[in-house]
């Protein structure tokens, strides 16, 4: 059900929410967190709401979409409430602020009265994010701040900002996209031979924050020389090689879909390793409401990564090695 409240106030929205619960018996009490989506008013809103709805099946939440409208307009707030089938397992409140209400401080003031009592607040910028999320008006309300460097106009610049201004509680979906890679690499080292890694090479597209972060993580964890190179083919992160005395452990994904794990003395193994969707990443993010120290150390580790000049060639998955 979708209820529109044009030219409204937050107390009217709150009243309407209680009314909806009483009349329709609809939901609202078992919510575990408030997710605030900060975005510009426009086409991107529905995609973000959909991602939040799908994540809400795992993490029942109240979703507040703060959409900043025209700044040169009269002060007005339009609200929309979605519950039931239109909101997954969540309840969605879309707040559109115009004129002075499109400003950051005023936006945060509109969100404040609608936060669930005594439940964590997560802020998510699906596209452009403030330079320092933790100092943003909405960011200050939240324990967890999620950004996505890859979906901004200039991913490397956004990523550099993340590195420069990291505060505990921040994460970027760049990091989430690496989880399956990291898990496969960690699992490969779980099993014998238990030899130390002597050096590592990470290759990927020229512009690929995930590749940088992978190199940073390895540098921080392994404390050995980690080289970041350009890959000749493939989107995003393409390959990771960990050198050990008995030979290298290699994980290669040259088509963005299928990974290939190579270890000395073992047959090549293929594994589905598709790039992850935003809803999938968001679900993983909401699983963690505490600070991610490992992410912080990976960001810090990037400083220790060396740059390779030559690009790295990788044989395609499934090709005879």
């Amino acid at each position: 059900m979708i209820v529109d409240l044009p030219s409204s106030t937050t107390s009217a929205v709150n009243r309407k929410l209680v009314e909806l619960r009483e009349s329709g018996g609809v939901l609202a009490l078992g919510r575990v967190l408030t997710l605030v989506i900060v975005t510009d008013d426009g086409a991107g809103i529905e995609g973000a709401i959909e991602a939040a709805n799908s994540a809400s099946r795992e993490h029942p939440c109240r979703v507040i979409v703060l959409a900043r409208g025209q700044r040169r307009a009269a002060a007005r707030m339009d609200a929309q409430i979605r519950v039931g089938g239109d909101a997954g397992a969540s309840e969605v409140i879309v707040l559109r602020g115009y004129g002075p209400l499109a400003a950051d401080e005023a936006g945060a003031a509109m969100v404040m009265p609608l936060l669930l009592p005594d439940a964590p607040v997560v802020a998510w910028w699906p596209a452009e994010a403030p330079a320092v999320p933790a100092q943003d008006a909405v960011g200050r309300l939240a324990q967890r701040r999620i950004t996505d460097a890859l979906s901004t106009k200039n991913p490397m610049k956004a990523f550099e900002q993340r590195r420069a201004h990291h505060v505990a509680g921040d994460t970027d979906l760049t990091w989430t996209r690496l989880t399956s890679w990291r898990a496969l690499l960690a699992t490969a080292l779980d099993h014998p031979p238990h030899e130390p890694v002597t050096a590592a090479v990470v290759s990927g597209e020229a512009v690929s924050p995930s590749t940088e972060l992978m190199a940073g993580w390895l540098a921080a964890r392994l404390e050995v020389r980690v080289k970041r190179s350009r890959a000749e083919q493939g989107p995003g992160l393409v390959s990771v090689r960990l050198d050990r005395a008995s030979g290298p452990v290699e994980l290669v994904r040259s088509d963005g879909k299928v990974g290939s794990l190579r270890q000395p003395g073992q047959p090549e193994r293929l594994v589905a390793l598709a790039r992850r969707s935003v809803p999938d990443c968001l679900s993983e993010e909401l699983r963690r409401l505490d600070a991610d120290e490992i992410y912080a150390s990976a960001l810090a580790g990037i400083g220790a990564v060396t740059r390779g000049r030559a690009s790295v060639r990788t044989s395609a998955a499934g090709a005879p090695s």
């Binding site: 898990a183 099993h191 921080a220 964890r221 404390e223 598709a274």
Partner: protein, 525 residues
């Protein structure tokens, strides 16, 4: 972020394997899932219902969640004239129909590369030699690393021959770092003696730490949540004892009958089928003391302790009940009674409803009865644990004000509609003081189920990882039979047949009498 302490944290946390610590693991890195190491799974009885509806879909779901190792192999063994492609088709159909997560071609293609099928019967030496060759090939081609699990999804009377074959063909031999494991499903025998025999047979071939007994209830999120509710919260523990608890009722009811299951069920009955394993395990979770840690050894130690303290309450003629459903209209459908079901002896004395009374002889629980009941063709399909509290010792109200007030109850709904219900009294709005029961609901199922894994996913993954905490050990199995055996003996010696109850009801009259003797009644779940 200070990195100076990283090395020090690494030694305390990490994935410790014989003194070696994986530098890429860190206990603070909660995102990293546990992926099973290189391995393969061989399923005996792939044509059965369990394999099609639960095991194969669970394996696909695990692959889809990225929790199976690259190069995972699944081998089917059955008496069918199938080629590998036919087996592919069977698994494909099973996955398409029953898998929980969406179908992804990319994932399927990788998984399907590891499918093999070996045709043959259990007494066929050649077939097992071919299986041995297949498994060795998988090590070479798929890199399963000599690690293989054997899932015996077959009737228990076939266990001895299959186990003997595994030993003869060398499939059960573990060298060095490689492991071989065996998974068995209930029933683990039909009384204490047969359970011991079965265990000897299994124990001859596999050491106890390689034997994984599946009780799929223990893989359910709601059951694991019992431990979280009890030991992570402050407000249950103070009242979790005989000072406040009046009684505990554990119910597992099914609305379906036993058509087509005569071969397994006739002569076994509800008590052996459900009470000995599922219900006594639930009792252990509810009644156990707090483990010193959540390691599998500590958990098992506490479970065994509480099972050792569990006794039947007598006299058994009055404190137990058994029944058998009769035909009639159930929920708009005409169903037949047990004795008319296909394959059952028309004179069958097998019970389809069983209820027993236990008590736990500890300081915490002395005097609190634990009522366990299960049955087929009951009112609806439901499994729940109800902890019923004593009435308040003094009510500062007139009797008329609290006429409608029942006993407080804390109910864990195991399935369906997973969650927790709390029942307590509340004032009825109006200018009179009148108190009536209301309920407060926590809907675990409502919002969480889509993402919570099936019990079999969890259990298969734990088995491949060698993580034993959710699998009952032999001691638990034997102790459970020790508890239940006297009831079954008593029913056998009495010579009477089970009391009839109409399909769709909540059991025979005798079950109500068994509660009435202490002034209690069964909850309607």
């Amino acid at each position: 972020m200070p990195t100076g302490s990283a090395a020090e944290k690494r030694t305390t946390g990490g994935w410790d394997t014989g003194g070696w610590v994986n530098p890429l693991r860190d206990p603070r890195d909660k995102r990293l899932p546990r992926i099973a190491g290189p391995c393969g799974l061989v399923i005996f009885g792939v044509t059965g219902d369990l394999a099609r509806k639960k095991l194969m879909p669970a394996i696909y779901d695990l692959a889809n969640r990225g929790l199976l190792p690259p190069g995972f192999a699944l081998t089917g063994f059955a008496r069918r004239d199938w080629a590998d492609q036919d087996f592919h088709q069977v698994v494909y159909d099973a996955v398409k129909t029953h898998a929980r997560t969406p179908f992804r071609q990319n994932v399927w293609d990788r998984l399907a590369e590891g499918f093999r099928f070996v045709p043959g019967s259990f007494d066929d030496d050649d077939a097992f030699d071919r299986l041995e060759t297949t498994v060795a090939d998988l090590d070479r081609i798929r890199g399963t690393g000599g690690n293989h699990a054997f899932y015996l999804s077959i009737p228990p009377n076939a266990f001895p021959v299959v186990l003997k074959q595994l030993a003869r063909s060398g499939l059960s031999t573990q060298d060095g770092d490689q492991w071989r494991r065996v998974v068995i499903e209930k029933p683990f025998g039909h009384d204490l003696r047969s359970a011991r025999e079965l265990n000897e047979i299994v124990g001859d071939v596999f050491p106890e730490d390689s034997v994984f007994r599946i009780d799929h209830y223990l893989g359910k999120e709601t059951v694991q949540n019992v431990l979280a509710l009890r030991f992570a919260n402050q407000f249950f523990e103070p009242i979790w004892n005989s000072h406040y608890v009046d009684s505990v009722q554990i119910t597992m009811a099914e609305d379906i009958g036993l058509g087509g299951r005569a071969g397994y069920y006739d002569g076994i009955g509800a008590a052996r089928d459900v009470i000995q394993n599922h219900l006594l395990q639930l009792l252990a979770f509810i009644a156990m003391e707090e483990p010193t840690s959540f390691s599998s050894d500590e958990l098992r130690a506490e479970k065994i302790k509480v099972l050792k303290a569990t006794r039947l309450v007598g006299p058994l003629d009055e404190t137990t009940a058994r029944g058998q459903y009769t035909g009639g209209w159930q929920g708009g459908e005409l169903v037949c009674g047990l004795t008319e079901e296909e394959g059952f002896d028309p004179e069958s004395g097998t019970e389809t409803y069983a209820a027993i009374t236990c008590e736990v002889e500890t300081r915490r629980w002395a005097g609190v009865p634990f009522y366990l009941r299960t049955g087929k063709r009951l009112g609806r399909r439901v499994t729940e644990i109800a902890v019923i509290f004593k009435r308040a010792p003094h009510l500062p109200f007139d009797a008329t004000m609290t006429e409608e007030l029942g006993q407080n109850a804390f109910v864990i709904r195991v399935q369906p509609d997973e969650g927790v219900t709390l029942r307590f009294g509340s004032k009825v709005p109006g200018n009179q003081m009148e108190v009536r029961d209301v309920t407060m609901d926590f809907g675990y199922g409502m919002a969480f189920t889509e993402a919570s894994p099936e019990a079999y996913e969890r259990l298969i993954l734990d088995m491949l990882l060698g993580e034993p905490s959710l699998f009952p050990v032999n001691d638990e199995v034997e102790r459970s039979w020790e508890i239940l055996d006297p009831v079954i003996e008593n029913w056998a010696t009495s010579g009477a047949s089970p009391d009839p109850y109409p399909a769709g009801s909540w059991g025979p009259e005798s079950a109500q009498r068994m509660m009435a003797r202490t002034g209690r009644t069964w909850r309607r779940p």
